[in-house]
Amino acid sequence: MTFWHILLGRLTWDSLVFVEAWRNPTISEIIGGLAGGVAVLGAALLFGLITILGRWRYLWTVWLTSLDHKKIGIMYMVFAVIMLCRALIEAVLMRTQQAIAINNPGLVAPDHFAQLFSTHGTIMVFFVGMPLLTGLMNFVMPLQIGSRDVAFPYMNSISLWLTVGGGIMMMASLVVGKFSTGGWSGYPPYTELAFNGGVGPDYWIWAVSLSSLGAMMTGINFAVTVYKFRSPGMRWMRLPLFTWTTLCTAILMIFAMPPLTVATLLLAADRYLGMHFFTNDLGGNVMNFVNLFWLFGHPEVYILILPAFGVYSEVVSAFSSKELYGYTSLVIATMVIAILSFTVWLHHFFTMGQSAGVNSFFGIATMLIGIPTGVKIYDWIWTMFWGEVRFSTSMLFSIAFMITFVIGGMTGIILATPPLDYLVHNTLFLVAHFHNMLIPGTLYGVIAGYYYWFPKAFGFRLSEKWGRIAFVCWVPGFYLAFMPLYVMGASGVARRTQELFDPALRPWVIAAEIGALLLLAGLASLFIQLYVSIRQRHTTRVPVGDPWDARGLEWSMSAPPPEYNFAVIPQVSRRDPFHWQKINNGAYKPADHYRDIEVPKNSMCGVLIGLGMTACFTGLVWHMWWLAVCGFTFSLGTAIARSFMRDVRRTIPAAEVEAQHRRWLETTAAALPIPRHLEMTPENEGLAKWQG
């Protein structure tokens, strides 16, 4: 044990991708080196830019240390979009590899390809899907229930920074060391020490652990917020649908994250302490991992999809200018889906040799989920019925979702039938199926929600034109990229295949490649949309805050909202409260009297705890035990120190609240009420003309 050995653990020069690319300059290694270079350069550029612009103080005091649920929500989404860029580029690289590698090794080596599909899956699930939705829920849910913040703002910040820490570890794996090659599900014994001694599976274990810790805390936070922080009169059956889905998602997070924590913890026990939970020898049993993982994994699917269902419920109702059809059915369907999601985990491994009885039980349970899901789709269709549908970007994505999602539902029923699952399990058919659920189910939902709530968050609308261009890329792109995968899967092509051997597959892989490129173009057009929208923001401002003539409480304040959300906590007397306020002339009225408002002060503790745990886990990955101990002690110390702080809240005096509120009411009075057919024009200042 030399000093260097203790200091650096397993880290050597060879761990750097650049060194590897220098020594062994194959295309695959050079691609790896380039990716690492982009990661390092991107980080350096970002730091440099912030330093040159002198924005560190602003960033630190206004954003990073903020405990405001709205800012935390936005930071979640920014983080997720950065991760999405990487994971989508990886997807394109994988498709390119398959398009080229028919009876030749192609661009990337097998080991590199395996890292690509592992990081792609891990990032998309834990660092894109979940943070995107957590961000949306963070921003919207407290506004919808008439609350000033979430129940535990400080814990909210810790959740965010734990998740970001996991993302930092994922990015670090681009530069130092290799990521796991065991896929996003990390099945042992392949990920055990006997088969994979390197840092890869450890990166996976600890990055995922950070995310699952953050998600569990988020779940507790959201559930308590919905239970305890609703404004007076906001009874259960008056909650907006998005809040309902947030609650169900939170409950899923509370119960589904522990199985993942247990699975990764036990795998870590095997790898670090030589235990035998999932090893081949001495009584280990890999089936325990598979069960634990999917006990988490299936509810996770609904964690990723339920909030998007909530978004669609809001968007379809708002852009059909109409009440949501079948509110009660939608609530019941959401709850049923949440409960059933815990009873179907075994359908992820019908092929493990259980008895026909067990497989039948879980197959039927899986099909049952189809009923409430179908009900939801029809509820959205009937919401458009007898309405006035405006084809905004949000609405286009919602309609594309309904059509695309049911196709995924069809293949889902096929996979839920055990004998059919035997045929297509572990093939590209399965890959096509879950992308068919998650791209419309999660991604389209997030885009729809992003377009819908963006004016609320930033005070100006997004470019409609570029939204449509994005739509033209994302929707046909999806079909082109994934329909061929169904065909290839039905032809017996296994998933995670780096090289193909049948030239007849060529047209399909090329179609999929074009689709993947279109999806990348879709992402690019979202960036252009943001850029263009910021440039032309002076013509799209909606300071009054209700650009879409919408119905929930989140539209009843200025855009962007004040940090305390509501000048006066609203009294709710029926569903769609803001809509009825507008109809009954109750909206945009000053309050009788204003009161002092307490908001949480900013705190750096969340950032420090998150980064401390990241240091701890990075230390564990590289066997730098000192770093692990220091990181953990630092986080624990910060948490303890924070518990000694008593002066953690700040009061906004009633006079200031009143002044702000009155200023907004003046803006409102000066604004021109806009009928629906003019909502995309510069005249729209966020004041809707009520048209019945």
Partner: protein
């Protein structure tokens, strides 16, 4: 959206589209032709079923697919139709913003799907029991016994009654049921022969089972479908269905092969490697499969990893 703003958008998006239209049309034609010719690959999968199990599963696939098409058909039609008919610009369509509930519609969206799921569930139970991979095909005929061991990155097939073994080649008499016992000599793997039967996992320390048959003599293929490392793509093998006479001839000729599959040979075989050619063993140490299941032989990959670690 008003007429004017729609017009604006059409103009803005429309002009590049018009320019691109010709190219796109041509591209689509070429691609469609390519995809049509590409459909031949489907015959490599279960749609080209060549045995009773895969054929039954294919039949069920068509059935479930047809039922599901009926289910999703209305959504595929109604969604665009209703959205378009009730568009803002269509002033002739009715507008009832307060309408949000109807018992009839509630019945329509809850009850028929429930009935369909019940029907599908009945099929599901029946087919799952009938096509249970553990269930012998025809109780009267004694099946050919095969023991399959998944290794990195190849398949070892032991014929216990014939006392021979082959690697990456499965030769079977057509028309006779086959019973496979599977285990893994390494990580978890999955045996998939798309034209013959559904897949089943192979795991170390335990056995799983698969029953199937080949209807007609012919050449088919199999693979491992569960990722297991760098040689994963190449872990494919040929399945040869031959007539019983040829099968017996093959067994007899294989026995002439001097190669013996014993502990030492297994240790070498279980090192991580990709074989370029199938290998045949003329004799097999009795009870070898049981020893592999009970992990009485130290597999070769462990030694390989220890060597690699001591160098690194």
């Amino acid at each position: 959206m008003s007429k004017t703003s729609t017009g604006l958008i059409t103009r803005a998006v429309g002009s590049p589209i018009r320019r691109l239209r010709k190219g796109v049309t041509m591209g689509l034609t070429v691609m469609a032709a390519g995809l049509l010719s590409g459909c031949s690959v489907l015959s490599r999968g279960f749609l080209g079923a060549a045995g009773p199990v895969a054929a039954a599963e294919r039949h069920e696939f068509y059935l479930v697919g047809a039922v599901m098409l009926l289910v999703i058909g209305p959504v595929l039609l109604l969604t665009p139709l209703i959205a378009w008919h009730y568009r803002l610009a269509n002033t002739k369509s009715a507008f009832r913003p307060q309408w949000g509930f109807s018992w009839i519609l509630e019945g329509l969206i809850w009850i028929p799907p429930t009935i369909i799921v019940i029907v599908l569930a009945v099929f599901l139970v029946d087919d799952t029991v009938r096509l249970d991979p553990y269930r012998p095909l025809s109780p009267g005929l004694s099946p050919l016994q095969v023991q399959a061991v998944s290794l990195d990155w190849k398949w070892l097939f032991i014929y216990p009654d014939q006392h021979i073994a082959s690697v990456n080649q499965l030769i079977l008499p057509a028309g006779r049921p086959v019973h496979v016992s599977l285990t893994s000599g390494t990580v978890m793997q999955s045996l998939l022969m798309p034209q013959l039967a559904g897949q089943i996992l192979a795991m170390a320390g335990m056995t799983t089972q698969l029953n199937f048959a080949i209807s007609q003599p012919g050449t088919y293929w199999g693979e491992n479908a569960q990722y297991n490392g760098a040689g994963f793509d190449k872990q494919k093998f040929q399945v040869l269905g031959v007539n019983p006479v040829d099968f017996n001839r093959w067994v007899a000729s294989s026995r002439q092969t001097p190669r013996l599959l014993d502990d030492a040979a297994y240790r070498t075989l279980s090192r991580e490697s990709v074989l370029s050619q199938p290998v045949t063993f003329g004799s097999v140490e009795p009870g070898l499969f049981a020893k592999i299941v009970h992990q009485a032989i130290r597999p070769g990959y462990l030694r390989q990893h220890e060597d690699a670690n001591s160098h690194g």
